[in-house]
Symmetry: C2
Subunit: 140 residues, 2 copies
Amino acid sequence: MATELIGQRMTSQRKLLLEIIRDAGGHLDADELFQKAKGRDPRISLSTIYRNLNLLKELDLVAERHFVEDHHHYELKDTAEHHHLVCRSCGEVFEFNSPLTPKMTKDVEETSQFQITDIEINMQGYCPNCPRDMHQESSI
Amino acid sequence: MATELIGQRMTSQRKLLLEIIRDAGGHLDADELFQKAKGRDPRISLSTIYRNLNLLKELDLVAERHFVEDHHHYELKDTAEHHHLVCRSCGEVFEFNSPLTPKMTKDVEETSQFQITDIEINMQGYCPNCPRDMHQESSI
DNA sequence: GTATTTATTGCGAATGCTTTGCATAAGCAA
DNA sequence: TTGCTTATGCAAAGCATTCGCAATAAATAC
């Protein structure tokens, strides 16, 4: 990974955050990143984390993931592509990826005329330990 | 659509929300639903909207979508499946669906042993009117 | 139809994540 | 090293969403 920013300054906080994201390797949320960062630089602030995450996102260096929960998770953009399947009952996260996504992306690019930069697949369901409750059949 | 709830009461507010979601046909957020509901029942409150959206979600009657933004959108579960592609520059939303999703879902069910109830695909990119800014090449 | 039970509502306050304003600190170019 | 300007830390603000509670109204039993 390169170590220079163009137009921006490479501050110690920025460098630290980048290292943490890279080393953690996978969907941490802002607060988890903040806690880890504080371990190495106790004076760092949560706003700095957010500001830098937004910058890295704009630069396409990190991806912001929105799965089930109502806050975001971040991971390096060049991490091997993978998607998420979350259990609706216990919250367990299963990661997967599918050989079908490149073709799907290509198809969608053709029909939409968009230039696609990012694909996120979130599935939900019930994990093997949380069988679906069958009598919860709704009937509105 | 049926009109009875088991274990729950079919209140006028509940009925109204359901009608609004059905008639709107597609990803409104809680506040948009609230505004429309207020048009027909000025005394309805936003908490009621949220409480009922959560109920309908549990009953699998509506799907909660998390796209780019940091709030949620809701749509009827039995709407024809479709996914979303959002322009990173102007925000335009393109809806698509792909013949590959059933196979992908099946594959993932097999490897994960989960019982999948929901699949959400969010793509991002640049629409034909917002070509990607090429000199924004990052170099951290 | 009336009374009873209990889910649901509306309101306001609270929560949790994220952003912002501002004064201070610190990169970076000359 | 100086000077310009971006970035930081802190505290406060902003939003979306949830919660507590007294009042209301469905559903059920009489």
